[in-house]
């Protein structure tokens, strides 16, 4: 229950002591010593509504559940007022049941079940109490003995090399290795180096972007890395990317190191110009 209710008036505080509409109903039933299999719905409904009226200031989330129950009670009450179709009441007497045709049936079942779990909860409360009178030793902190701060040479350095050798050996076998090698194989740096190399080799004519794209089957990662590499190299000014016409071939040109720094601003202009030409 929220803190905002702590300043509430007395009946309200009493109401918040109930877990929900079922809890309140069970309380009313027990307090009024009502026969659960023949619930005096009219009286129960009135008492419930009286409690509900007292909690007008209550937070809507909680009140909502109570309102739904109030509506249910009113509905049952009204249905009980209707003339009942003739029913053979013989079977009703079987055990302490209630006829499924009775409008109260469902409510009674819910109350019975909820009441049962309240009893089970009370049993658990007893178990909790009993258990809390047993004392166990807490897990002692043995980390100082068996763990860090480490004793000098707690572990042999040879373990490190053995482990590393084992990992590297593992790389040669099994599925895990395949993924690890593939990931190891292509790094951004390597892609950048390869892209730059390809552009340089192509010379003044530049290289088509299509040629840079690896031949299938390729990993998605390779394409992503290629574009990251291109962006990074463009940023560095070591490449220029140009397109002759709209939807035309994209070519990548190598920028010799000597020309790079001076070209950066030009490159930017170039990109802007390209964009404009595309617009036209």
């Amino acid at each position: 229950m929220s803190a905002s209710q702590t300043s509430a008036t007395l009946p309200l505080v009493q109401l918040t002591a109930f877990e929900g509409p079922l809890d309140l109903l069970l309380h009313l039933v027990r307090q009024g010593r009502m026969d659960i299999f023949d619930l005096p719905i009219a009286s129960l409904c009135d008492q419930f509504l009286a409690h509900l009226a007292a909690m007008d200031a209550l937070n809507l989330n909680i009140a909502g559940d109570f309102l739904v129950m109030a509506a249910t009670l009113l509905e049952i009450k009204s249905r009980l007022l209707l003339p009942r179709p003739p029913v053979e009441t013989v079977e009703e007497c079987e055990g302490a049941g209630i006829s499924p045709d009775d409008p109260r049936a469902e409510l009674v079942q819910r109350l019975l079940e909820y009441g049962r779990f309240q009893t089970l909860a009370e049993n658990l409360r007893t178990a909790e109490y009993d258990r809390q009178s047993l004392f166990f030793r807490p897990t002692a902190d043995f980390r100082s003995l068996y763990s860090l701060p480490p004793r000098f040479g707690e572990m042999a350095a040879a373990d490190l090399i053995r482990t590393l050798e084992r990992i590297l050996a593992d790389v040669g076998a099994g599925e895990r290795a395949v993924t690890s090698v593939r990931r190891q194989k292509i790094t951004l740096r390597m892609t950048m180096r390869a892209t730059l190399g390809a552009a340089e080799k192509a010379g003044g004519a530049g290289i088509a972007l299509a040629q840079l794209i690896p031949e299938p089957p390729f990993a998605l990662l390779e394409i992503v890395l290629l574009f990251l590499a291109l962006l990074e190299l463009l940023k560095q000014g070591s490449l220029i990317v140009a397109q002759e016409d709209f939807c035309g071939e994209i070519r990548v040109f190598f920028v010799p190191e000597a020309e790079r720094s001076s070209l950066i601003s030009n490159t930017e202009e170039g990109i802007i110009l390209e964009a404009e030409s595309v617009d036209k």
Binding site: I62, F117, L120
Partner: protein
């Protein structure tokens, strides 16, 4: 073969230092014996502790050393334990899950008649319940079940130790079904 008296002393040490219940399997593995020998040594140990303030308790699927209940008041004077009881809603929810597990939040709420997400969160945080998969129904709601900590918290050695439902389980099953059907109908309306 190790002397069972000596084994019982070793088991005693292990139970003393572990700080959590140790299963027979774990004890057998650590002591490099078999579970049969462990059970024998536990019996012997339990007898030896008859006249002690402590006891060898079977709890949460294992064995643990703990004090006897009658000494709780004087221990409380030394330790001043926090009264950290579960709230009534938490206890109700725990009871429903314990007897109905695995069950969903909707099933808990159908019985309690109130929203129970907060309570479920609290119980999960205290590690008394845990998520146990998803129910294969629309929305695939989370299923909840009790944990080892739940057993320990209530001093139970296993779930079968829960007090039996006083009433006919069939009856209750029917009642739940009815409640659920009614709720579903209400939800559909």
């Amino acid at each position: 073969m190790m002397d069972y008296k000596e084994l019982s002393r070793i088991v005693e040490c292990l139970l003393f230092v572990a700080g959590e219940p140790l299963s027979a399997k774990e004890l057998a593995k650590t002591t490099e014996t078999d579970e049969e020998a462990i059970y024998e040594s536990l019996r012997f140990l339990r007898d030896r502790y008859t006249d002690s303030g402590l006891q060898v308790m079977e709890i949460a699927g294992g064995w643990q050393l703990c004090t006897r209940t009658q000494y709780a008041p004087v221990i409380g004077k030394l330790l001043a334990p926090r009264a950290n009881r579960l709230s009534k809603p938490a206890l109700e929810t725990a009871a429903i899950i314990a007897y109905r597990q695995p069950c969903t939040q909707a099933e808990v709420e159908a019985i309690r008649g109130v929203a129970s997400d907060g309570v479920l969160k609290t119980l999960t945080e205290r590690e008394l319940i845990r998520e146990a998969g998803r129910k294969q129904t629309p929305g695939r709601p989370i299923l909840y079940a009790t944990t080892e900590s739940f057993l320990h918290y209530f001093g139970l050695s296993c779930l079968e130790d829960l007090p039996p439902l006083d009433d006919d389980a069939e009856d209750m099953e029917a009642a739940t079904k009815m409640a659920q059907t009614a709720l579903a109908a209400a939800g559909a309306a």
